[in-house]
Symmetry: C2
Subunit: 200 residues, 2 copies
């Protein structure tokens, strides 16, 4: 069996926090894993900003529900699903992801979750496990599946390296420079061709 594991943000949907930053006008929320590879540090930074700006989880969910998948993403995903099993491996949170997953026909996703306090503010994050993307890829390989992995960020590199085939999709320049060994795709048609080659 062939499995295609894809990062969510930057591959199928826009960066959620960039969208939130834009809608709320809070520039600091534009910081992503592309800038700060330590995800817990990044999330603590974000939670602190939200609280200081009096933004509850429901406010963020309202913003997220106005976001759309990237242009062409739904058709691309459907094509991939016709070729192989698809799993989205993301470091985002189920509480954020569901409205966007619905717009993509509910692909299978493994990600993290949030803890919310009594006032509705995000209090903490629950990381499903350390280096969860890599461990998911390893688990699928242990089930005798062949795995293709792709993402755009630092937090995708370990799952890309753990897969049978791993490539970058629309990565920033610094990752391209650091990992000249990885193929880079920037549009869905050529990315789909690479997946077709993997499926064989």
């Amino acid at each position: 069996m062939n499995i295609v594991s894809l990062d969510f943000e930057g591959v199928l949907i826009p960066e959620i926090w960039v969208g939130v930053a834009r809608k709320t006008g809070i520039e600091e929320l534009k910081r992503t894993t592309r800038d700060e590879p330590d995800y817990r540090k990044l999330m603590e930074f974000r939670m602190d900003i939200l609280r200081r700006n009096n933004l509850r989880l429901s406010d963020i969910q309202d913003v997220i529900s106005t976001l759309s998948p990237l242009e062409g993403a739904a058709d691309f995903l459907y094509e991939v699903e016709s070729l192989a099993e698809v799993v989205i491996l993301s470091d985002t949170f189920v509480e954020f992801a569901r409205p966007l997953l619905e717009k993509l026909g509910y692909p299978f996703m493994l990600c993290n979750s949030l803890i919310v306090d009594d006032d509705g503010f995000i209090k903490d994050i629950v990381m499903r496990q350390e280096d969860g993307k890599r461990k998911a890829v390893e688990a699928f390989r242990s089930l005798n599946c062949r795995v293709f992995s792709s993402g755009d960020s630092y937090n995708d590199l370990s799952m890309i390296d753990a897969a049978d085939v791993g490539v970058l999709f629309r990565p920033p320049e610094n990752i391209v420079k650091e990992r000249p060994d990885l193929k880079v795709f920037v549009d869905y048609p050529s990315f789909l061709e690479e997946i077709r080659r993997f499926v064989g």
Copy 2:
């Protein structure tokens, strides 16, 4: 994260081989895992019958493409997908499953595959791994997911037992008698309620 793992045949789609038996008029093809728990033996029996009746993989695929999901299955699946991550764990073969998966919006599925000879006859089966349903459930639990499992047949019992919560859906009488410890559901609305309880 909550994962709902479902058997395919008998839970979301009709028994493929029963449908093939009906369309081809070959009564012996109605034998299922409900009758013969040893899946490899059952498949060798089926492959032998197909060859003796001059039926190639493409003939079987033609029959399968005329089958539909069980009544209410697509809506049920969509509801479950809105609550949790869904994985179909089946002992069928990707070559058979794809036309039916398409009719259900391509849920994520782990199953087996076929080897076809130069003349287009099914030559052998490739079981992804021994007791693959149970191992898949165990793998998801090792990724810190909570797993709900359900199926109707002997080959589902190990995954039902390996899950956090496991129930039977539309099982035959012999399994109900052998496993009085397992809850039994026969319609989608009550089954969905049980899944809602699991998700919490």
